[in-house]
């Protein structure tokens, strides 16, 4: 299979398997509209992860009692969705009943449409249409196909980031029960015996400040979202996980950053392997290391040469470039114990330019071609097919400088390659070999053949 055929095969597989994820033109229009309004389109079958990012609709004062009613009602609607499909597929009678029930719970204001619901002179179709309009009004949507129990829940109870841990635990139970994405661990409602939420947030906040060196003002800009959980592995070990979220434009905009802290029942900041969550201190350290790794001056040199060589891999640079690079980077790296790997490999050998007593480049290359003809029975024309040349003048041992060539057939770059190393002073062939490109594929040493 050629590379092109391979890619076509892969493309076909992905398109065939994931074509159902492509939004229709209508859905695209909707995404555009919502994006322009700074909102996000809500999906019907919403995952918990998505739920965590849904926009805020504040829990209004006085809605507490009604919220409890909706909480009791949600399982029923979930069950109906489970049996009948989404709201837009429900028979008129069910849609009307839902609207009536929500009206009775106090979430809909009186209007012409609420009047139609109980108008004995109105037809079923008219009542169903009124129910649809009311659902759209409640959810803020403009398409009944988007109406879903989850949307209604958020319309009534607000963004999940504003909920209490108990509400999140309740919701997690609901969505798990009805087959939506469940969390890998179990959210639970706090009891009086648990470390208080406020205390967990205080500990978590202090840990983030200590780990990252943030001040109080910065932390005030973060929204803490708390969950109490246990895991299958340790069902009796109750832990708080606190997400300090940064919403640049307030809750309801997209989340730009978050810092996650796990605080256990003893008030200790921990790493939790059950949910693969490192401690906040480890994460901060990793971030610092990552930044420090970007700093070395030698990387600036590497990037400069990399860019002036078209970002091509090191082995493709002309030997003159390798020589200049090696001269410049060697003083910066010679005393360092560890290097980023791309620099590490390109500094294993030192490179330079041939002197007057060295075999000139053209002669050495001709010698390489002659060698593969002689050693491997190639005709001159066959050897010339290996026109892609990776070249280097190796001065690692100043008393034993070498020309190094890897010869590749560009029309068969996944085939055999030839490697020839020549003593630059005597012209003797030190090494001639051929190798399949994929030889020792997983071995980091493999690429060194090219250096």
């Amino acid at each position: 299979m050629t590379d092109r055929e391979f890619r076509e095969r892969l493309q076909k597989s992905v398109n065939s398997t994931l074509s159902c994820l492509e939004p229709s033109a209508r859905q695209c229009d909707r995404i555009v509209q919502e994006t322009l309004e700074g909102k996000k389109v809500m999906k019907k079958h919403i995952s918990l992860a998505l739920a965590l990012a849904i926009l805020l609709a504040c829990i209004t004062a006085g809605a507490g009692a009604a919220t409890l009613l909706w909480r009791d009602y949600v399982p029923q609607m979930k069950q109906e969705e489970h049996e009948l499909g989404d709201y837009d597929a429900w028979p008129d009678a069910q849609r009307i009943q839902l609207a009536k029930d929500i009206l009775a719970m106090g979430y809909l204001e009186d209007s012409e449409d609420t009047r139609i619901l109980s108008d004995e002179t109105a037809t079923e179709q008219e009542k169903a249409a009124a129910a649809d309009r009311l659902m759209l009004q409640l959810t803020g949507e403009d398409d009944v196909r988007e109406v879903h129990s989850t949307l209604i829940t958020y319309a009534i109870m607000g963004h999940e980031d504003t909920w209490t841990p108990a509400q999140r635990a309740w919701w997690n139970g609901i969505i798990t029960m009805y087959g939506d994405d469940g969390a890998p661990d179990t959210l639970i409602a706090p009891t009086e015996e648990d470390l208080p939420e406020e205390e967990a947030v205080r500990i978590g906040r202090a840990a983030v400040m200590e780990a990252y060196g943030f001040d109080e003002a910065y932390m005030d800009g973060l929204t803490p979202v708390t969950y109490l959980y246990v895991t299958d592995v340790r069902p009796d070990y109750r832990r708080w996980i606190i997400h300090f979220k940064q919403y640049p434009d307030g809750v309801g905009s997209y989340m730009e950053k978050e810092y996650i802290v796990v605080v256990d029942e003893n008030g200790e900041v921990i790493a939790d392997p059950d949910i693969a969550e490192p401690s906040i201190y480890e994460k901060a350290e990793m971030q610092r290391e990552s930044k420090e790794e970007e700093k070395p001056q030698y990387m600036t040199v590497f990037r400069k040469y990399s860019e002036q060589n078209g970002l091509n891999p090191f082995w493709e640079w002309p030997y003159t470039e390798k020589a200049a690079y090696s001269t410049e980077i060697f003083p910066l790296t010679k005393d360092l114990e560890s290097l980023q790997w791309e620099v590490g490999e390109s500094t294993i050998y030192r490179y330079g330019l041939p002197q007057s007593d060295d075999m000139p480049y053209e002669d050495a290359l001709n010698k390489a071609y002659e060698t593969i003809e002689a050693e491997y029975g190639l005709t001159s024309d066959q050897a010339k097919c290996y026109s892609e040349v990776y070249e280097a003048f190796d001065i690692t041992d100043e008393n034993n400088t070498k020309w190094k060539f890897v010869l590749v057939n560009p029309d068969d770059d996944m085939g055999l390659h030839y490697r020839v190393i020549i003593d630059s002073k005597t012209g003797d062939v030190i090494l001639a070999e051929r190798f399949p490109w994929q030889e020792r594929l997983q071995d980091m040493e493999y690429d060194l053949k090219y250096y």
Binding site: L50, D181, D185, I275, N312
Partner: protein, 169 residues
């Protein structure tokens, strides 16, 4: 609305969504192994792009698609940091998709999803999106040598599995 004050930008967004939403959703699925999350990440991608355009009205990304893909990959990375994505099973996610593709195609996607993250990203960008290796390296912020290596290794793994029926599951 804010966008009304910036003529032409809304049209640009519309063009992007219609042209790239499908590709970006698929890319996000291959990163997140979850259909809902992929759609969500796709929407977040456009939302972030739009917000960036609003803040920088004269901004021209040059290569629109590459810019959006970079935002999408970063968005997926943010999602993956969330604890909820640690145990997502792509096989299960594929089974839940409404349209059942031929088994061999699903296997290929499954295998692609099982590659190490960097290899997978290279396979997606270079192997699927048709970006050059240099573009891929630039977009992922890794040297071309890494791109070469990731592609070779990823391709060898997929080839071996697809042509030899090997599956390490």
């Amino acid at each position: 609305m804010e966008h009304a004050a910036v003529p032409g930008m809304a049209e640009t967004l519309e063009e992007w969504v219609h042209q790239y939403a499908g590709e970006i959703t698929k890319l996000c699925f291959l990163q997140l192994a979850d259909a809902n999350s992929a759609q969500d990440a796709m929407q977040d991608t456009f939302l972030k792009a739009w917000k960036y355009l609003q803040k920088h009205p004269g901004f021209c990304p040059g290569n629109d698609k590459a810019w959006l893909i970079r935002i999408a990959l970063n968005t997926c990375k943010d999602y993956q940091r969330s604890q909820w994505f640690k145990k997502v099973d792509m096989r299960k996610s594929l089974e839940e998709l409404p349209i059942a593709a031929p088994e061999e195609d699903r296997t290929a996607v499954l295998l692609l999803g099982k590659l190490p993250r960097k290899q997978r990203q290279v396979m997606i960008l270079h192997g699927l999106q048709g970006m050059t290796m240099a573009e891929t390296g630039k977009l992922l912020g890794i040297p071309l040598t890494s791109v070469h290596r990731c592609y070779k290794q990823g391709k060898a793994y997929l080839m071996a599995a697809l042509t030899g029926g090997e599956d390490d599951d």
